[in-house]
């Protein structure tokens, strides 16, 4: 039983496929998918996270509809060579710190983010510790 919101999502923006309770989308179509969700009541960005699958990074976004108590999950996969994905921080201010943390720990570059720099580690730190191939130098 895929939710009604996923069907509407599929017509409006060309996302890859709907499976189970989440939607796989193309990274570049993330902003307009997010805007579409925001107009249909899913106006609460809950969580952004990423996981390192050796040849690609899988980013997971969850949104909530506070009125009808329903939430939606979007997933996008980004290649390891150029981990680029458009930033949501100009639509939701809440995404600002979470994207900076993913840039800091995972090395994913969010295009359009106004001050994308390390948030949790100090500036001289080389490498992104959350990646699978990170060797602990100290």
């Amino acid at each position: 039983m895929t939710k009604k919101i996923y069907e509407e999502l599929q017509e409006n923006c060309e996302c890859a496929r709907i499976c189970g309770d989440y939607a796989e989308i193309v990274p570049d179509s993330l902003p307009d998918c997010a805007l579409f969700l925001k107009d249909n009541g899913y106006d609460y960005l809950d969580m952004i996270t990423a996981s390192d699958h050796i040849d690609e990074f899988i980013l997971t976004y969850t949104f909530k509809n506070l009125k009808d108590k329903d939430d939606v999950m979007l997933r996008a996969s980004v290649s390891r060579e150029n981990p680029e994905i458009p930033s949501l921080s100009n639509i939701w201010i809440g995404a600002d710190f979470q994207e900076r943390e993913l840039y800091d720990l995972m090395g994913i570059i969010f295009t359009g983010h106004n001050n994308l720099k390390r948030i949790v580690l100090w500036d001289g730190f080389e490498g992104h510790p959350q990646r699978k191939d990170y060797k602990n130098v100290a």
Binding site: W122, Y134, N136, V137
Partner: protein, 201 residues
């Protein structure tokens, strides 16, 4: 870690400046610092033959013991065990310690409570250097002694003694208030043995 004036950064590259300090502190402090010198029994006896110094020692040590003012510089979970110790039930005000001086200039005990990350290490070193001279450090909790449960993390200093000389180690994660009071009692015994003649040895 002296701060030469012309290197004070402008506002935008302050983070890079702080990053360099953290990096070279991280490379320079890989082994723990040597322990502070305390008198063994026979050294104490040899010292006691000189009456004038011992009575003065005892008076000063008594004053140091009676009023240890901790500086409020708490990092992590052990903070709340120290706060619980300073509350009504396990009251450290009985030992005259409840005057929590916020500024390091007026305090003489650095309660190193909690995990120390590399980004916080230069700040702790600066606070320790800002404190006025007869100062002591208590490493409270497993993270403060040896990095504890986070020892193999890339961002955690394996113990405060890599950065600042530590006087008393209180084990526990977090140590119970009774353990903390016992540890502070040991610190007071240690202060009792110190002598003004060996101050800068």
């Amino acid at each position: 870690m002296e701060i030469n004036p012309q290197m004070i950064p402008s506002l935008d590259d302050a983070d890079a400046y702080e990053g360099n300090i953290v990096e070279d502190l991280r490379r320079s402090s890989l082994e723990p610092l040597p322990e502070k010198v305390i008198l063994s029994e026979e050294e104490l006896k040899e010292l006691n033959r000189n009456i004038i110094v011992t009575t003065l020692d005892d008076a000063i040590n008594w004053a140091h013991k009676a009023s240890l003012w901790p500086v409020t510089c708490f990092t992590a979970c052990c903070t709340f065990e120290f706060i619980a110790t300073s509350m009504a039930r396990f009251d450290i005000a009985r030992f005259g310690m409840e005057v929590l001086r916020p500024s390091p200039r007026q305090a003489d005990l650095l309660m190193a409570a909690g995990t120390l990350s590399w980004k916080m290490a230069p700040q702790i070193k600066r606070i320790y250097e800002q404190m006025a001279e007869p100062k002591w450090v208590v490493a409270m909790g497993a993270c403060a002694i040896s990095g504890g449960i986070f020892q193999d993390s890339y961002a955690v200093v394996p113990g405060y003694n890599h950065i600042i000389p530590v006087d008393v180690y209180i084990p526990g994660c977090p140590p119970r208030p009774e353990t903390l009071l016992y540890g502070l009692e040991q610190l007071r015994n240690k202060i009792g043995h110190e002598s003004i003649r060996l101050e800068n040895k």
